[in-house]
Structure formats: C-alpha cells, structure tokens
C-alpha cells in the first residue's frame, strides 16, 4: 500500500538522517561553544501573539482552533517565538541574552514549486547587543558554524535594510511613491524600478542614484565608493566590517540592494550563498524594533540556516555538481 504525505513534507530515512545529524551536531556545538543556550518553544502558538511581528513574506499559514475557540498557528520562524520568550520570561535578566535553536518551522507553499511546508532551521538570536558589535558577533558565529560543517565556498551577503529608504529620503522621493519603489527592489525587478523612477519626476541624477546604488555589491570597495545619502547605513556597514576578523571579512559580500522579505528587519541584513545551490542557504539580520512589540524594547540580531539546503549544498560541493559550480 502507498500512503501519501502532503507535498512539501518528507520522511527522513536512516542514511539521510545520519548525514543531517552530523550537520546539526556540528552547528549545535559551535552555537553552544559561542555561549548560546539552546531553547525550544512550542510549534503551536496563539495567532494573536505571533501577529505582533511583521512577518510579511513568512507569515504563519496553518491555523487551527483550540477547544476554547482561540486561533492557534504553526510557527513560521523561531525569531518571533524567541522574542516572545524574552519579553515573557527574561523581563529583568542581564544582557545580552544568547539563545540558539534547532527547530522545525512551517510555511505555506506555492503548488508545483518543490517548496517545503516544514523546514528545519538552525540559528541563533543575540538579544540586547546593539550594532555594530552584536552584528559582527552574529556574522562570526555564522561563519564558524558553516566552517564547522565543512562548507567550503560559501559567501555571506551583507546589506542594510535602512539603506534604500535613507537613499530615497536623501533625494526627497515623495512618500506616496516610496512603497512602489521599495517593492520593485524587493522583487529585484530593476526594469520596473527604472520605470517607476522615470514616473517620479525626480531629476535624472537622483533617478540614476536610486537605480544604480542598490545594484552595487562586492568587497569593501563597494562601501568605499558608495554614494552619499545613506550615510548612517553605510557607516554602520563599515563599522561592522572593521570589527570582523579576517577570515569572516573574506567571506562577506557587501550588497547595497539586499532586502529580505521578512518585515521585522531594521538594520544589517544577511544572506548565505554557496555556488552549489541556486537559492540562499540561510539569512538573518538586525531586528531592533521587534522585541519592543512584545514589551521589552531591546536591540537584537540573529540568523537561521536552512539545514536541508545546507545539506544539499554540502553534497553539491562534495560531488562538484552544484547548480552554479560549472
């Protein structure tokens, strides 16, 4: 008899499980060794509680009613539940707080796209450590963790969620036009961005700036030659860069157009790339406003690695057959 399971879910059998264990144990060891205490939170939460965060691209999708009629959701990430834990259980604890986790999260899928409904994330949250120090620490732990599992060719894209908004402010884009521009950039639709810019009535130099700046990405020279106008975001990226040890700095690609599709990021954002995989392996960033929504305003930063994607990338590197490794 063949009994189906929902698309986007899978059974993990012993051979694969053994490989995944090696990865998660190596990640967990680095997290613990870096001073991060492991936590676990319920997979089911009250919808009203998680809704305090702006999850945009990763909203909880699976809902059920409990026996009292309250709406429960399956969590879609671990950052928001940990923000809840900090506000609820660590109201007066000394800072910073360091937590790590390895937990399944649940996302909606589009049909026929091979997207997972259930994904295993491994990550950290560093709470009460402002930029740039906290950001540099998170990046360092991220690289240590990826090094520990033996991923060879990865790079970490680093940008700043406030860069493009500040740039728009600097050339006085009308508030009504900003949402459209940032939407086009978030979709990385540069053709649409150019079209919308042409309709703004901005002078040609301002339009060129808004089109060109978010396409700049590369080493430290990107920061050196970055346009004026988003001074604070750029200064932030430079400060982070100055705090990184050489091994970590060598992994970093500064990307002035990096925007993540989760709404709560406020400052630095990052994504992990590997030539063996066509999609990012993980990502994270600063969310300095999120904790405040749960009642304890604290600056915070974190990242999550998709364990399955990491596994695919590792296998691809090993076999030299990765998507982009031609």
């Amino acid at each position: 008899m063949i009994h189906p399971i929902p698309s986007g879910t899978r059974d993990v059998l012993p051979d694969e499980m053994a490989e995944l264990r090696v990865i998660t144990e190596a990640l967990g060891e680095v997290f613990l060794d870096s001073g991060y205490g492991e936590v676990y939170t319920p997979a089911l939460e009250y919808e009203a509680v998680l809704a305090r965060a702006e999850l945009a691209g990763a909203r909880p999708t699976y809902r059920v009613f409990d026996e009292a009629g309250a709406t429960l959701v399956l969590r879609s990430d671990m950052t928001v539940p940990i923000a809840r834990v900090v506000a609820t259980r660590y109201q007066t604890a000394p800072l910073p707080l360091r937590f790590c986790y390895q937990a399944h999260c649940y996302r909606g899928v589009r049909p026929q796209r091979g997207q997972p409904r259930e994904l295993l994330q491994a990550g950290i949250e560093l709470i009460g450590a402002p930029a740039p120090g906290g950001t540099a620490e998170a990046l360092t732990v991220l690289c240590r963790a990826l090094d520990a599992v033996g991923l060879r060719d990865y790079r970490v894209g680093v940008g700043d969620a406030s860069f493009f908004p500040a740039l728009m402010e600097s050339v006085e884009v009308r508030p009504a036009q900003r949402e459209g521009l940032i939407g086009a950039l978030a979709r990385r639709d540069f053709v649409e961005l150019e079209r919308l810019l042409a309709a703004t009535g901005l002078p040609a130099r301002a339009r060129a700036l808004l089109l060109d700046a978010p396409q700049r990405r590369g080493g430290a020279e990107v920061l050196a030659r970055a346009p004026a106008g988003a001074a604070e975001a750029l200064a932030g990226m430079r400060q982070v860069r100055d705090l990184l040890e050489e091994g970590v700095a060598a992994r970093v690609i500064f990307d002035l157009g990096l925007i993540r599709n989760i709404g709560y990021y406020t400052g630095a954002v990052f994504e992990v790339y590997d030539p063996a995989l066509g999609v990012p392996i993980g990502g994270g960033g600063r969310y300095d406003d999120l904790l405040g929504r749960f009642g304890r305003a604290l600056p915070a930063v974190g990242f999550a690695i998709g364990v399955d994607r990491l596994h695919i990338a590792l296998t691809g590197e090993e076999r030299g057959t990765g998507a982009l490794a031609r």
Binding site: A56, G57, A58, R59, G108, R110, R155, G157, A186, R187, R188, D189, F190, V191, E192, E194, Q215, R217, G218, I253, D255, I259, N261, Y273, D274, P275, L277, G278, V279, P280, G322, A323, L324, R326
Partner: protein
C-alpha cells in the same frame, strides 16, 4: 571559441525571441553559427548557452541551472505568483527592448460580447494561454471571470463559443483582425528581459555587471 561572458551560462529562448536574441549575442561577439544551424542541440557548453522554450527559462534560472536568461515579460508575469508575500526568485535586470508586444483583452468585433456577458450573466468566460495573469487582471479590475486555459490558437475560442473574450499577446494585431477580433483593453506592454539567478548575481557579480555593461552598450 569564446563564451557570452566569462564563467556564465545563459538560458536562451527558442521561438519568437530566438532570432533577435541570437542577433544580440552576435553583437556581443559570440559566434552564433552553430546555434543558428543546429536546432536539435540544446546545450552549447563551449558557448555558455542553453536553449529551451521561453516559459522554461525562469525555471532554469531560478534553480541556478543557468546564471542568466532571456525571456518575455509575459512569461515572467504569468509565472510571478500573486499576492504580496515574498519576492520573485529571479532578478529582472534589463529590458532588452526587442520582442515588443502587448497583452490585450480582445473580443469579437461589433457589440462587445464580454460586456454583455458581464451585464447579463455576471461573469465572462476568457480563453487564454496566460491563466494566472488573466485571473489577476480580472480580480484587479473587480470583474468576475471564468478563465479557460488553452494551449494553442486562442483566437479560435470566441469564434466557436468556447469563450466570450481572450487574453493574449499581440504584436501587430494582424492575427486578431484576421479572426474578426478587436482589442478592447490593453493590459500590459511586454518585451524581452534579461533575468538572473539571485545567487549568481552575488557570487558572479563582476561577470554579470560586465555583461550588463556590454548589453547596454550594443
């Protein structure tokens, strides 16, 4: 023999955009002779080119099986998912300017049967090769539509009573005219676009930017 750009693989659409895409690649200094003559071969490793049907281009690029690709905006719109959640997972870098055409809503000449259907039946049947794009358009304009997906000549649908209206691409309007159809609404302008895989866009940034410069220059 040289590739399009150092270390980059580009997905090239066969079909309506093929000739002009080859012209562009030729202007970029690629020897397109074999691409022109050998229509059975799909993978031209020494050129850094893969050929495929246009609607497959975003699939290959999204997965990173090609770093860059060329396809029509119509394909990108049809494959973009609706709603506000999340980015599309290919980057749209450049409007290449060729393959210009318009996505239109067309119905039989004379009194508009779509308007009549909407007025009397509350819903219009629309035949199209672009079901998601058409559904989104009718949603966005607050009208109810029953979308009928067809794979071949859409013009047949209103002539045979399968649907009152069609949503389709038109460049010159000749095919519509020949089938006694008139454009009622222009939905969106389409043309060939250069798209990129997000990871390649970062990890091969120098090569991607260099190619972009050259494409803009020719």
């Amino acid at each position: 023999m040289s590739t399009v750009a150092d270390g980059l693989t580009i997905a090239v659409p066969r079909g309506a955009l093929f000739a002009e895409t080859l012209e562009l690649l030729g202007r970029l200094g690629l020897d397109t002779g074999e691409l022109r003559t050998n229509d059975r071969k799909l993978l031209f490793q020494e050129l850094g080119v893969i050929t495929m049907r246009p609607s497959d281009v975003p699939t290959y690029v999204e997965a990173g099986a090609a770093d860059l690709g060329i396809t029509g905006k119509d394909v990108l719109l049809e494959q973009a998912h609706s709603g506000t959640d999340g980015a599309r997972t290919v980057y749209e870098l450049l409007d290449l300017g060729y393959g210009r055409c318009t996505m239109v809503l067309a119905t039989a000449a004379g009194e508009d049967p779509a308007a009549e259907a909407l007025r009397r039946l509350g819903v219009v049947r629309v035949a199209t090769k672009y079901p998601r794009l058409a559904a989104r358009y009718f949603d966005d304009t607050g009208r109810q539509a029953e979308i009928v997906e067809v794979k071949g000549s859409v013009e047949l649908a209103p002539l045979t009573g399968l649907a009152e209206a069609i949503v389709d691409l038109t460049a010159t309007g000749t095919t519509l005219q020949e089938n006694n159809l008139v454009v009622r609404e222009e939905i969106v302008q389409c043309s060939a676009r250069l798209i990129a895989n997000p990871v390649a866009h970062k990890l091969k940034a120098a090569a991607v930017d260099e190619l972009l410069e050259r494409v803009r220059a020719v």
